[in-house]
């Protein structure tokens, strides 16, 4: 199958016909559902709490349905009028806004508990109009996304890169905007089922979210972890001790001296 990104810009490609396809095709439905479920899992939201989420490239609202089922509120952005019309005719629970992600998100700062995106951000790599500069569009997208997220919350963006260059381009843009995190690849050995998720954290992770963190660490991140992003040595040591304690090893108790340098005398 040829990539839709090569055929036409998203606002033209996703016309009434495509929108209908998304509504009736059970395979697309299933794929969208499972991708959304996986993205929500990677978001590591606090359990039993209604969160406010962003759905970037929400299309006909298939991913939004999953969010609603999980008990969260959402606001969806998309560039295709036809897809949004389909969503609104299905009476989805979330709010819909017609918007070009590359122009940045028109949102105030510190609003959302998380953001997901299913198969959308690879469109940012295209220059469909002469005025488009993919790098600029990516940076305004990631900057505005970073701003509208609450510190320590996550964005999980599933996408279909056409080359490793695209992955690099998107990762660099995200990191420049201040995000930490990396790439999670599901089913890396299968060409068909292989799925890429860009898992980003806005700012230093807050302690309330840290309890859930170990789940993500189990997955292979293909890119190296980011260097020491403002994480102090002490918190690293404390985390390591906690880990070893969990493994049942003998660990010295934590004190105010943990992670401090020795005073000059003893060296």
């Amino acid at each position: 199958m040829s990539r839709p990104e090569y055929l036409a810009p998203p606002e033209i490609y996703y016309d009434d016909q495509q929108a209908k396809k998304y509504l009736t095709n059970t395979r697309i439905n299933e794929v969208q559902r499972s991708l959304t479920e996986r993205a929500l899992e990677l978001l590591c939201l606090r359990p039993n709490q209604k969160s406010l989420l962003l759905d970037l490239g929400c299309g006909s609202g298939l991913s939004g349905d999953v969010i609603t089922e999980e008990g969260h509120e959402w606001v969806g952005f998309d560039i295709s009028q036809a897809m949004l019309d389909t969503a609104s005719s299905r009476d989805v629970e979330g709010d819909l806004v017609l918007l070009d992600l590359g122009q940045g998100l028109p949102l105030r700062t510190g609003i959302f508990d998380g953001a997901i995106s299913v198969s959308a951000i690879q469109w940012l790599c295209n220059a469909d109009k002469t005025s488009y500069e993919p790098r600029k569009r990516m940076s305004s997208f990631f900057n505005s996304l970073y701003a509208c997220l609450i510190r320590g919350s996550r964005a999980v963006l599933q996408f279909y890169p056409d080359s490793s260059d695209q992955v690099d381009l998107l990762l660099t843009a995200a990191q420049k905007a201040g995000f930490s995190g990396g790439l999670v690849v599901d089913f890396p050995n299968s060409t068909r089922a292989k799925k890429f998720f860009l898992c980003l954290t806005a700012g230093p992770p807050s302690s309330s979210l840290a309890t859930n963190d170990k789940r993500v660490n189990n997955y292979e991140t293909s890119k190296g972890k980011k260097r020491n992003n403002g994480i102090s040595l002490r918190s690293k040591i404390l985390a390591k001790k906690e880990r070893q304690r969990r493994q049942g090893r003998e660990v010295r108790p934590d004190s105010k001296y943990t992670g401090r340098k020795r005073s000059g005398k003893l060296r």
């Binding site: 709490q49 806004v97 017609l98 028109p106 105030r108």
Partner: protein, 119 residues
């Protein structure tokens, strides 16, 4: 578009806040009341705009300071729920301070910059 989302939106071009809302068709869709969620949204809301909207939509006068968890004012929370989560703007326009108009059609605001300019 619910009024909750309206409270978060700023002009995509000039980044000014708030946008001026001029609704022509409004709809109420009831949803389950969740006080905890309202409480979590309050610090994220621009309270001045909430009060202004409350007046604009004839929901009545809201307290000058946003209620907190300790505030025992169930009525205000109910009102906020009704206003922010149950009131949908079906048709109307959003106006930026520089005069740009973003139309709302069928509940979907059109915030595209270029398209607005082309028209």
């Amino acid at each position: 578009m619910r009024l909750l989302t309206y409270n978060f939106l700023q002009c995509p071009k000039t980044k000014t806040f708030p946008l001026i809302l001029e609704p022509t068709q409004v709809e109420t869709i009831e949803t389950e009341y969740n006080k905890e969620f309202i409480l979590r949204m309050i610090p994220r809301l621009d309270w001045n705009l909430v009060r202004q909207v409350s007046r604009q939509f004839a929901f009545g006068e809201l307290p000058q300071v946003a209620p907190k968890e300790s505030t025992e004012d169930e009525e205000t929370f109910r009102l906020l729920h009704k206003m922010l989560l149950e009131t949908h703007i079906k048709e109307g326009v959003l106006k930026s301070q520089d005069g740009t108009i973003y139309p709302i059609k069928d509940g979907i605001p059109n915030m595209l910059i270029t398209q607005v300019n082309d028209e």
